[in-house]
Amino acid sequence: MCPVLAVTNTAKNALAMGLATAFVLIMSNLVVSSLRRYVPKQVRIVTFILVIATFVTIVDYLIQAISLELHKALGAFISLIVVNCLILGRAEAFASKNGIYRSLLDGLGMGVGFIMALLCLGVVREILGSGSLFGLQLFGEGYQEWIIMLLPPGGFFTLAGWLLLFNWLAKRRERRANSTGKESIS
């Protein structure tokens, strides 16, 4: 959860971070599920963390090789993918109990979901914060940028806004279900 807020100040960074996390998620799910018969129960968490750390190191060097600029923007947060609860959680809850193929699909699904969530945050913050999307200017010259959306507080506010939206949708659906239920009774 932590790196989610820190790097999503532009849509591009959000996408890169999402891709990196998804890659680590898929690869670690793959390795963990193929090793699951050979790892003793007592040391499994440590083993999982080491597997994850290996892939994170690979991603770190990969991003450095592809784009130095991006690597600078993401900074230490790539390394911090290691402690992302999502990855360890999936390794423990799913990959250590299921076959390779199913774990691969699980990693893929989770990864795509994670990328979408990061994009939701990144797109809103970039549009409001710098008036652009993926570096493309959206509004005219007169647009007053909301600098605060690029800064740390903006991350909290954007996440709060999205949660508010989802809460509202869930509530509305509930109310609708209730009202249609009543109608069918009457």
Partner: protein, 193 residues
């Protein structure tokens, strides 16, 4: 080698670049345990303690890795050492002071997966701090974490009594609160000049 003065490092880690509110590290315990003031204080103490211990060991590892010229092992060895240090500290405290162990309780194992700890180790190596500087940096980061946690817990205890609309109850209002707190802490950026 970095030559920042010690007080500047402390202030920087504690207020200006507060780990929780400016770097977004350790958000999970920040949102999870900040419901009650007493628990928040204990958690802050435990995190500060682990931060200092793991920062010292991270400094040791980093010098060793530089000696054998294998920087790509940094991340793996950091995480392994932090996890085992926390385990070791837990056993040590259990043996030496059962009262303290009960006070810290379930928080110690939770701290292992706290990104603030690993982040601290990584930042300190990136900045090239010496042994004493790392120590002060860890102290400052821990103090900043505790400060943010205690402030948040105090606010949330008040919020329990306030009238809030149904739709924002729970996580949403907590996040807005965290955002406002983060805005306040941005005011400290003026200190750095």
């Amino acid at each position: 080698m970095n030559s920042d003065p010690l007080w500047a490092i402390f202030l920087n880690a504690c207020l200006i670049n507060n780990f929780v509110l400016a770097y977004f590290l350790g958000i999970c315990p920040f949102l999870g345990v900040s419901g009650k003031l007493a628990t928040a204080t204990r958690m802050g103490g435990a995190v500060t303690f682990v931060m200092v211990v793991s920062s010292m060991s991270a400094f040791g590892i980093n010098s060793l890795l530089l000696m054998i010229d294998a920087p790509y092992l940094k991340l793996i060895s950091f995480i392994a050492v932090i996890a085992s240090t926390v385990q070791l500290v837990e056993m040590f405290i259990k043996k030496m002071s059962p009262a303290l162990f009960r006070a810290l309780g379930i928080f110690l194992p939770l701290i292992t997966t706290n990104c603030a700890i690993l982040g601290l180790a990584l930042f300190q190596t990136n900045k090239g701090y010496g042994l004493l500087q790392s120590f002060v940096y860890a102290l400052g980061a821990g103090a900043g974490f505790t400060l943010a946690l205690v402030l948040m817990a105090g606010l949330r205890e008040k919020l329990e009594l306030a009238k809030t609309p149904d739709i924002v109850k729970g996580t949403v209002i907590t996040l807005v609160l965290a955002g406002l707190l983060s805005v306040c802490f941005m005011g400290f950026a003026g200190l750095s000049n």
